[in-house]
Subunit: 81 residues, 2 copies
């Protein structure tokens, strides 16, 4: 079973990496970009016998304990296959 976790900065939290990318894109001539936000995508391969609900619960636990900084980040979890 595969889990895809997207971690992104909460709205309102400053994103200096996104700002830098935005600036670089602008310098390269891409003037149509209004705003850029950079987040993380973590793909986990899970082994063992679990159903989707159990897998989601476990990955949620991982996010709360390690993967995301919940003070400034939100996350979404998608269970695949």
């Amino acid at each position: 079973m595969k889990a895809v976790v997207n971690i992104y900065l909460k709205e309102g939290v400053l994103d200096p990496q996104g700002k830098a990318v935005h600036h670089a894109l602008h310098s390269l001539g891409f003037r149509n970009t209004e705003d850029v936000r950079v987040g993380k995508q973590i793909v986990l391969n899970l082994k063992g016998e679990m159903d989707e609900k159990e897998a989601r619960k476990e990955v949620e636990d991982m996010c709360e304990k390690l993967l995301a900084n919940t003070v400034i980040e939100d996350y979404t979890i998608e269970i695949v296959k």
Copy 2:
């Protein structure tokens, strides 16, 4: 219009960040994880009058020129709204 770009290491390319996360998860007691890969998710807000095809073309261009290192990374583009 919004574009979501997922950038991830090509298969076969070593992912030390993923390995570190895997190790940390294991240390925390999450023994069901077989493999972890860490990638980037970039969300771009595009302005101006473009249809989906033009937007995709432009974002593809951004990926090739700046966002992705196509020697070791692959990317997917999703146009939203």
